[in-house]
Symmetry: C2
Subunit: 367 residues, 2 copies
């Protein structure tokens, strides 16, 4: 776990600026970032009440107290235990006493389960509800050097996995078999968890989030391999394209256009430009080359404690990039029924540009 | 995936009874149960709008359409695609047109992320919001024979893993090392995913949800091993106790009391009794033997597509058990700083009693 010293204090500063009285955060990345506590997502409520006045409380089910205490979160917030038959919502209401002068303005964790939000809305009928990410994104989007270092180690680990993939892609094997071997390689190369393994072969390569399945690899297949895991809590995420034998008709030209678009987007990264301008830098050349309608997703997503987080590299996002922001650049071309391709690197915004953390060649690997 | 034919129709019947106009269900067990679609949990909204009048729609991000279509969900609901820059909330509002005559009464998936519920509440200001589980629990709590069969296969698979655990628990190894080996064994014995691996040794055994860590196993350790995975989407979950060498003082007496309590609770299972009566059947003898304050959690939880689901075996739950309900019975004793123990089996309610799906011996295994 990377320590983000002072993160709760900085969150309180943002609460003051944004006139929010408290954040209510369940298990997940915000809680880990602010307190170091990797809470289990359970039907029993775990909730950090992070107050603008810094009188924080961490409400935990009784049987989770040892794990919560071991995380060190008790140094930052008072740990309040709720028994199996106790009322966690009453504990939240109590932890919010005196947090505001009028009707409470509360920021609720974006991924908190709705069953808890409905309970909270009932227990606190006068409050107004916002997304906590309006505040936590301001912290989490700008990575510290320790966080960038973790992302770099994750990127290097996934690059080592990709270097092993072509040996696994043999005609006659199924996507699922290859996927299992890749999952093992993800752990062997230094990740602590496997986040996802996408092996889309032949026509399946045209489904961006294809689930590795029973299809048997065969000569002439285009194969998209998009894989990731975590290192010290931070994610890797890298896509490369493979071809078994001779590529299908039209593949080489399309891939050359994709490489150019991906390179153009990476070259456009620097502080002061908008997220949507990076999307346009990838999209415009593909549109010009006639592939625009086959590039059916945004260009990228932020990455950190979550696989997908802010900033999103998408049309309409006018967010201005700053040093320390980290995100994927992953344009793709998907021709339904024929083949698909995607090239993905993680990029960090540095002082005078962008640095790719994934450094493997981007041409299709012929196996 | 077990097919639950007609589940959407039965959900619509319950909507009529409970006067709910539609259910709004995101990725997760409800969606899988009702449509067979194992959607990815993404920051892009995927939402099943299941209407009382059976005009169902499945709203999916454009790049998920191939996966959604491949699931067969398109036979049950109209698949509506939203592009990367489209407005999924407008698509939901449109899919709800004509669903009710007055203000809409909507059941929202218990685990839908709050960011989506806040968006829905803003987009549909006149609606009232309930938990969808009030309806989906009525279906999912009563397992079909195919579902019980999947749970039985999962239980048999985890029993085979426990039969291998004592060979892994060697003094000098860390909890984490043992945990990694157990995770491999979970896959080798026929699970498709590893859900969790708890190896709590020595004083760590007194933390019910201890994370397998760096602690080195040593003679005299009590070890709690609580493990589970999934088979065809359905979970296994089984806890057994191990002792390395001679047990700590007081351990044998406590374990004998725990075995008796767990057996009493299992014997109390039959149709017509309440969930809380099963909790009492485990708790009362432990309280009588002086261990009541060290049994700090409920006796059990339902299990199926989710590791923890209804019915919960806890004081205050007056739900009456029926054939086909499946849940854990897992009393524990936790002496802080000394040792802990827990015995857990999955039980299915049958016509004239309860049947344990886990059949291994329940005494502590001495290694």
């Amino acid at each position: 776990m990377i320590t983000t010293t002072g993160a709760l204090d900085r969150a309180a500063d943002h609460m003051r600026t944004q006139d929010v009285d408290a954040l209510l955060l369940g298990p997940g990345a915000d809680l880990r970032y602010l307190t170091g506590y990797a809470a289990l997502p359970l039907e029993r409520l775990t909730l950090l009440v992070a107050r603008r006045d810094r009188r924080h409380a961490l409400i935990v089910p009784e049987l989770e107290r040892p794990r919560a205490a071991a995380s060190g979160a008790g140094d930052l917030a008072e740990i309040v235990t709720v028994s199996e038959t106790g009322d966690p919502l009453a504990a939240v209401a109590s932890a919010l006493e005196g947090a505001g002068t009028g009707a409470l303005r509360l920021g609720v964790g974006d991924r908190l389960w709705s069953t808890f939000l409905l309970g909270l809305q009932e227990a606190l009928p006068g409050a107004s509800w916002e997304r906590a990410s309006a505040i936590t994104r301001e912290l989490r989007m700008r990575k510290s050097s320790a966080e960038v270092d973790a992302l770099r180690r994750a990127a290097q680990a996934i690059d080592r996995v990709h270097a092993r993939v072509s040996a696994l892609l043999k005609p006659g094997r199924s996507e699922a078999e290859v996927g299992r071997d890749i999952a093992e390689a993800i752990m062997e190369e230094g990740h602590q968890t496997v986040s996802f393994v996408i092996v889309g072969s032949g026509p399946n390569s045209a489904s961006p989030h294809h689930e590795s399945g029973a299809r048997i690899l065969q000569p002439g297949d285009a194969v998209v391999v998009d894989i990731g895991g975590t290192v010290d809590g931070y994610g890797s995420d890298c896509t490369r394209d493979y071809v078994i034998g001779d590529p299908p008709e039209g593949y080489a030209e399309a891939h050359a256009a994709l490489e150019a678009a991906q390179a153009a987007a990476c070259a456009a990264v620097r502080p002061g430009v908008t997220a949507e301008s990076i999307d346009a830098a990838a999209r415009d050349p593909l549109t010009g080359a006639g592939y625009g309608e086959y590039f059916i997703h945004r260009t990228g997503h932020g990455i950190g404690l979550e696989e997908h987080e802010e900033p999103f590299i998408v049309a309409g996002n006018e967010l201005v990039l700053e040093p320390g922001m980290t995100f994927s650049i992953e344009p793709g071309i998907y021709l339904p029924g024929r083949f698909g391709m995607r090239i993905e690197d993680i990029v960090v915004v540095i002082k005078d540009g962008g640095e790719r953390l994934n450094t493997l060649d981007r041409e299709p690997v012929r196996v």
